[in-house]
Amino acid sequence: MSRLRIFFSSAVFSFKAQFSWLNPSMWLTMKFVLSLSQMAFFVFVGLFIRGPDVISFIAIGNALQVVSWNTVFSVVAIAAHDKWDGTLPLVLATPASRLPLFIGRAMIHVLDGMLSVAISFAFAAFLFGVNFGQANVLTLVVTVLVTAFTMAGYGLMIGGLAFYFREPVIFANIFLFILLVFCGVNFPVKDLPQPLQPISYVFPLTYGVEATRSAISGASLFDISTLLGQQLLVGLLSIMLGYFFFRTFEHLARKTGRIEAV
């Protein structure tokens, strides 16, 4: 019961904490402006280079990639603000169980990320003419949920690693934008140079983007179950790795007495 309480309080608190650097109206503006502008940029580039056939492919890819802003940037920002605002020693001093505390940090961002994706899908449908007529709604909702959850795992992994560095936000920027290259968001993974293609499957988003395109084409949950299974596996591995980074950091911080400097 206590672990569950820690999990929920960590989830709610981490979401509230982001409003120390982001006021609610700005949060809402970002939600609409960022998702639309990123999608528009790549749709127009694709339209210019390859013509109207790629609009749907690019719009769907970017609609899903938006989830990373919540699940990667916001989650890593928690680590950054813990360092900047001097709250990290307090977090490490608490007797609370570490696993729910650590995982809980990303969980409301899963819901927030799903909301961002829903807004982006609306842009894709109404501004760029993506046809959702064939979509299997249940498959689509499950895919977006699994993608948001596994990307939160990825965010926790980067967040865990970011504890070791002076400016975690730099990490967030790097690992957020490389998703646009590797995850089949704007072009199929097979368009990448052959040696780079295996890297794509390290990111949960790659599986999510493929599954989302299938769900919009009408695929059932059974049809994409293998993809979702692989995505969950990669997401869970990311969480475990992130937790390992966090605990090792904590151990090092206690051992050397240099919490912010580690």
Partner: protein, 270 residues
């Protein structure tokens, strides 16, 4: 040296020293333009036509944009975190001169971003980067750089008042890439966005830079059909006029911001 120039130079030097002391901050502002260029070049892989030129020069331009915007936002936020913004505001020098020096330094770093994008395109993607008219190219680059930094002044004035300067920066970055048609002709944008595109100096700057780079390219502003040299000069004239307008707007905004912060005394809370 006249006092105004001395203030601008000191702010310029200070920004340079900050950057040298903590160069890791160059990463966030080059990563987006670099990734966007990579995506465009990968899409361009099997295509023919002037797309490579659009992608590479557009990516470089975005590098300058990103750097100026990011640094304008971050410089103010950094002062707030360190508690030095109040000291900067109470110095007898006008805030706009201080920010102008910083903006110029940020735009100059943006130029290095552009060079990095050009180098990567040339070495990594084998995009030929011959320049048709090096003289006009150099002039277009310098004036565009100045235009970007004058636009940075307007953003910086708003950032002084905002608690979310850095978030605003993130939110503004990509819309500006879209509106200025950095990687595609603005003709592709909905008609109602065109006035906003023409109100941005860099829209004209990138047109001049592309015209100076390749004969394959035809002007995307109002000068299609004119000779290349005339089109470039007209582009640069409009951009310079817009840059002067930005300076005037920024001066007014900075006066208002200074007055408001002094009267309300809420700078730290902002």
């Amino acid at each position: 040296m006249p006092q105004t120039l001395r203030v601008i130079y000191s702010a310029f030097r200070m920004a340079m020293l900050h950057w040298i002391a903590d160069p890791q901050w160059v990463i966030p502002n080059i990563i987006a333009p670099f990734v966007f260029t990579t995506v465009a070049l990968t899409l361009f892989k099997d295509s023919t036509g002037p797309f490579g030129l659009y992608a590479v020069l557009g990516g470089g331009m975005m590098g300058m944009w990103g750097n100026t915007l990011y640094s304008s936002g971050f410089a103010i936020e950094f002062e707030k975190w360190q508690g030095t913004l109040e000291e900067v505001l109470v110095t007898p020098s006008k805030l706009i001169y201080i920010i102008a020096g910083r903006s110029a330094s940020n735009a100059l770093f943006g130029l290095t971003n552009m060079m990095a994008v050009l180098l990567i395109a040339s070495l990594g993607f084998r995009i030929p980067l011959g320049i048709e008219n090096p003289f006009l190219f150099a002039i277009s680059m310098v004036l565009t750089l100045l235009s970007v930094s004058t636009l940075g002044l307007i953003f910086a004035s708003a950032f002084v008042l905002s608690r979310s300067a850095q978030t605003l920066t993130n939110g503004l970055e990509i819309p500006l890439y879209v509106i200025s048609g950095s990687m595609f002709p603005i003709a592709l944008l909905p008609f109602w966005i065109h006035p906003a595109a023409y109100a941005l100096g860099p829209t004209w700057g990138i047109d001049a830079i592309r015209l100076a780079t390749s004969q394959e390219y035809s002007s995307q502003t109002f000068w299609a059909g004119m000779s290349v040299d005339v089109a470039i000069i007209l582009d640069l004239a409009v951009m310079s006029l817009l840059s002067l307008t930005y300076v005037v707007i920024a001066s007014i905004l900075f006066k208002m911001v200074e007055k408001k912060t002094r009267i309300q005394g809420t700078l730290v809370e902002a």
